[in-house]
């Protein structure tokens, strides 16, 4: 029996195991929305297409599945651009369906027409314009395959309205034929042998874990690898939840706002084992002084990440779920060499401990004003181990990375590469939709929150009990911090002069609003907020000019940290 394009699309989604999609209807996707009424797929109506893409992105981050978002042509589709770029920079598997004007009108400047293939080419892993309904099933199969394999990423499928109406016999292909796309899954054994030799010879090893570890679900293998090598571990923002911060060998995050001890250890190390990381400029600081004494082993599934920013002594192209177990097996088979190597690196672990004692992560809590770090520490104490934390972008995001002890994989949902303000609230929508029974918290600043605050409506409509922590300093804090440190305190356009009544805002949407202005109220407000059913905003009036420290100034080396204001 023949099906219409929109029916075929939904059938493909169902066969790919998609249970929830996020989107916003419009003229060129009206057929899809009509057929959606007869489909078992659950649709969440966000209040902005950007938010729909962020929600689908977070859905992918917490579940490991491919997230799906739908938007109409023209402005609907262009609104998805920030969301797609966010997902692309963090390698999140997604399929975005955009409506397009009917094929005969393409190129005619038709109503609500935008060249989405052209616009999204540099921010997608791949994109497709479907010009014949007979190609649709094959394209959907390829889109999902490309999105989730190799280094994952977003794939956009642009679907003209007439193709949604046209009919074809539906047959979903079982296999994918792409002669230009063969991601390397299994690493070269000779490279692994060399890695083992380098690890056994190292006296000051550091394991540097990136988002690839999160994406490939290797937490258990990673823990085993760390236990075997006894090498101290530092993670990037994206790799953070893949290794428990409470582990004795954890050094927390490295880079611009990394811990003193992680940055010192990387600078002094003689072997850096990079696992699914990409040596981003926020991680390396000044390249010339980055890990100057270290040999670098770089394991990544994407060859373009290797040697892009830093010199690499041993490239290993492969999936971490393949590489780590094989490395562990090879290392443990060399029992004596491993034992003596671990013993020989004991002074190194002692040195790392000494650095931890010298400059632990700290802040000064005063009696008069609430310190934002204190709110995050308290929140961490009060939440479940499997609570999912989403953030926006800015100071609150860095404090979360510094002071929240993530212990379980896929519990930290944040925009790392693109640094998208307004990401957190819609991301919390997606995370809570994926796991209705878990605690989902959006940690936010007053600036970022207002970039997608319309999603309060989505939370209330779908009874998604997300708890929102707003660290309100009435500033765009991170930019203000830079202005303070590098622009002589000239606070150009960073003071949010209009105070928002967040309690009334919450109530206007039918959510609950709470506020703490005093230090002694913090714990009570957090407890009450977490216990209150439904979505809750908890606003904390925090110390206005608190800085995120340590800080490696832009262009400086990792060991040139500013430790105190």
């Amino acid at each position: 029996m023949k099906k219409t394009g929109s029916q075929i699309l939904l059938e493909c989604l169902r066969l790919e195991g998609v249970d929830t999609v996020f989107g916003y209807p419009g003229g060129t996707v009206i057929n899809i929305y009509d057929d959606l009424m007869d489909s078992p797929i659950h649709h969440i109506l966000n209040r902005h297409e950007q938010a729909a893409v962020h929600a689908a992105d977070a859905y992918a981050r917490v579940t490991g599945k491919v997230g799906v978002a739908i938007a109409t042509s023209g402005p609907g589709a262009t609104n998805t651009v920030t969301g797609i770029a966010t997902a692309y920079m963090d390698s999140i598997p997604m399929v975005i369906i955009s409506g397009q004007v009917p094929t005969p009108l393409i190129g005619n400047d038709a109503f609500q027409e935008a060249d989405m293939i052209g616009i999204t080419r540099p921010i997608t892993k791949h994109n497709y314009l479907v010009r014949d309904v007979k190609d649709l099933a094959r394209i959907m199969k390829q889109a999902f395959y490309i999105a989730r394999t190799g280094r994952p990423g977003p794939v956009l499928v642009d679907l003209p309205k007439d193709v949604q109406v046209d009919t074809a016999l539906f047959e979903y292909p079982e296999t994918v034929e792409l002669r230009g796309y063969k991601p390397t899954i299994s690493a070269n054994p000779r490279q692994l042998d060399k890695a083992v030799k380098m690890i056994l010879a190292a006296r000051k090893p550091v394991i540097y874990v990136g988002g690839g570890a999160t994406l490939s679900d290797v937490s258990e293998d990673l823990l085993a690898f760390v236990e075997v090598t006894q090498a101290p571990v530092t993670t990037t923002l994206m790799g953070m939840s893949s290794f428990p911060k409470t582990h004795p060998l954890s050094m927390g995050m490295l880079g611009m706002h990394g811990t003193f001890y992680a940055n010192m250890a990387v600078t002094d190390s003689d072997l850096l084992i990079a696992l699914g990381a990409r040596f981003d400029d926020r991680v390396t600081g000044k390249i010339a002084t980055f890990a100057p004494h270290a040999k670098i082993i770089h394991v990544d599934v994407d060859p373009t990440s290797i040697k892009k920013n830093v010199r690499v002594d041993l490239p290993v192209v492969g999936m971490l779920q393949d590489v780590l177990p094989r490395l562990i097996e090879k290392l443990t088979s060399e029992t004596e060499a491993l034992e003596s190597s671990v013993e020989a690196s004991q002074p190194w672990r002692d040195q790392v401990e000494a650095w931890k004692e010298q400059h632990p992560m700290s802040y000064k809590q005063t009696k008069s004003t609430i310190k934002p770090q204190y709110v995050i520490e308290k929140l961490c104490e009060l939440t479940d181990d499997d609570a999912i934390i989403a953030t926006e972008v800015g100071q609150h995001q860095m404090w979360t990375a510094q002071f929240y002890d993530f212990t379980q994989p896929r519990t930290f949902v944040t925009s790392g590469g693109l640094g998208t303000m307004g990401y957190g609230l819609p991301a919390a929508v997606g995370a809570q939709a994926a796991f209705p029974g878990r605690q989902v918290i959006d940690i936010s600043g007053d600036g970022s929150f207002q970039m997608n605050s319309q999603e309060l409506a989505t939370l209330v409509q779908y009874r998604l009990p997300v708890k929102i922590v707003i660290l309100n300093n009435n500033f765009l804090g991170m930019v203000r911090q830079w202005q303070q440190l590098f622009f002589d305190k000239r606070y150009s356009q960073t003071c949010m002069e209009l105070p928002i009544d967040f309690i009334k805002l919450a109530e206007a949407y039918g959510a609950t609003g709470l506020q703490a202005t005093k230090v002694e109220d913090v714990e009570a407000v957090l407890k009450k907020g977490l216990e209150t059913p439904g979505p809750v905003i908890m606003e904390f009036k925090v110390s206005r000019e608190e800085n995120v420290l340590p800080m490696v100034p832009a262009g400086a080396g990792l060991n040139e940290m500013v430790l105190a204001s």
Partner: protein, 167 residues
């Protein structure tokens, strides 16, 4: 060390592949000195010849980034290989009474063909390595060179080895 490199890229002969490749170069700040593209013996595949510049690190990135594109089937860097390189040039030269003979003499030396003649101009065609074309242009310049079109080079490896598909 900056070098000029000639890369052949086998791509899917499909709508929208050229902007993917061109966009990759512009988006990542890589140079394109020339680019030519046409279908191969297998009509489902097109072959691009790209002349680019950069040090070894940049060249490695260009090659890896091209390979990462889904529509790219094979990237061949001819830098360390023996290959034949040819480019076509079409020029229009003003042909005054006093220069007509000299233009034809230069054309003859380079084995260029006269492809169009008018009372006041010659159009000439020359195929060869880019350096030969450069030399020809320099000799024609003082004789009244008015218009110049170059195809950008295409290359083929020497010997029996054939680049067709993924193998």
């Amino acid at each position: 060390m900056k070098h000029t490199h000639t890369i052949s890229v086998l791509v899917e002969n499909e709508f929208g592949v050229l902007p993917r490749v061109a966009g990759l170069f512009s988006g990542r700040g890589f140079n394109i000195d020339s680019l030519s593209v046409a279908p191969t013996l297998d009509p489902s595949i097109s072959r691009m010849t790209i002349v680019t510049r950069g040090d070894d690190k940049i060249l490695e990135q260009i090659s890896k980034q091209l390979n990462k594109l889904i529509d790219v089937i094979k990237v061949i860097d001819f830098t360390d290989q023996d290959y034949v390189e040819r480019e076509m040039l079409l020029v229009k030269v003003t042909a005054e009474a006093e220069t007509r003979a000299e233009i034809l003499r230069v054309a003859d030396i380079f084995r260029a063909k006269v492809v169009d003649v008018s009372p006041r101009s010659y159009s000439l065609e020359l195929t060869g390595a880019p350096e030969k074309l450069n030399a020809f242009i320099e000799l024609l310049r003082p004789l009244g060179l008015k218009e110049l079109v170059r195809s950008g080079p295409v290359v083929v490896g020497r010997g029996a080895k054939v680049w067709k598909n993924i193998d």
